[in-house]
Amino acid sequence: MLVKIVITPKPEILDPQGKAVAGALKDLGYDEVSDVKVGKYIILKLSPSPGLKLEERVDEMCRRLLANINVESYTVEILEG
């Protein structure tokens, strides 16, 4: 089973990397781009254990280690198979 986690800086946090990328896209003529946020994409491969709630486990992993919830938001996508 694959779990995909996307971590981005919270909207109120200044993201200088996103700003720099937005500036570069504008320089290339992509004027339709109004904002860019640069974050992280984490892929977990795991075998769910019976009796443990997968969603809760992954959410706990995000809060404890993968994201810093003071400054980052995350979304989790669980893919079967």
């Binding site: 946090i13 200044l14 200088p16 990397q17 720099a20 280690l65 810093n68 003071n70």
Partner: protein, 229 residues
Amino acid sequence: MRFGIVVFPGSNCDYDCYWGLKNDLGFQVSFLWHRQRSFEDIDCIILPGGFSYGDYLRSGAIARFSPIMEAVLKHARKGSPIIGICNGFQILTEVGLLPGALLRNESLRFIHRPVHLRIEQQDSKFTKGYSVNRTIELPIAHGDGRYFASQHILTELENEGRILFRYSSPEGRLTAAGNPNGSINNIAGICNSEGNVMGLMPHPERRLNASVGGTDGRPLFMSVAEAFA
């Protein structure tokens, strides 16, 4: 005063701390390996600068789960002193001993140069030896040094007098030009509400001897030694 310097894989200011505290200031110093689960006969813990675990994920995010950190948390709960310098400050915020976070420098550049700092508090156990509103000069060397905290936390830090160092002009004015990394309210160093855990981005351990550029780091360690003797 016996100092214990925690060595993580990727620490690189551990020997600077060791050498300066031992040879320039005459303290007893030992290294503590991050795999240790306990330590004895240590008065003050130092989490040194560097790139623990390669700064993977976020600076300090993995080091905070090192086996030794349980003992470090216990040390903090006892009211014993802990100093986090640079990467050590990042680890202290990740482990929750200090509030806020250290984000990528506003310029996106690694900045390595001396900066001016204004001493904000004289009654803290880490700054007693300095004169308040005086400026000192210490080097910084970091890519992730932009202090950030929510408005609620900032108000708490201000009201409780927990901001100990701010980036400033040489005359002590809080200017944007004097702020190297975009830290909110020019914050360079803070302490917890109990006053025994402190973190700062600049490197006091690199200014303990005139032959290496100055002695502005000395009063910090002397203050701790006196306050927690």
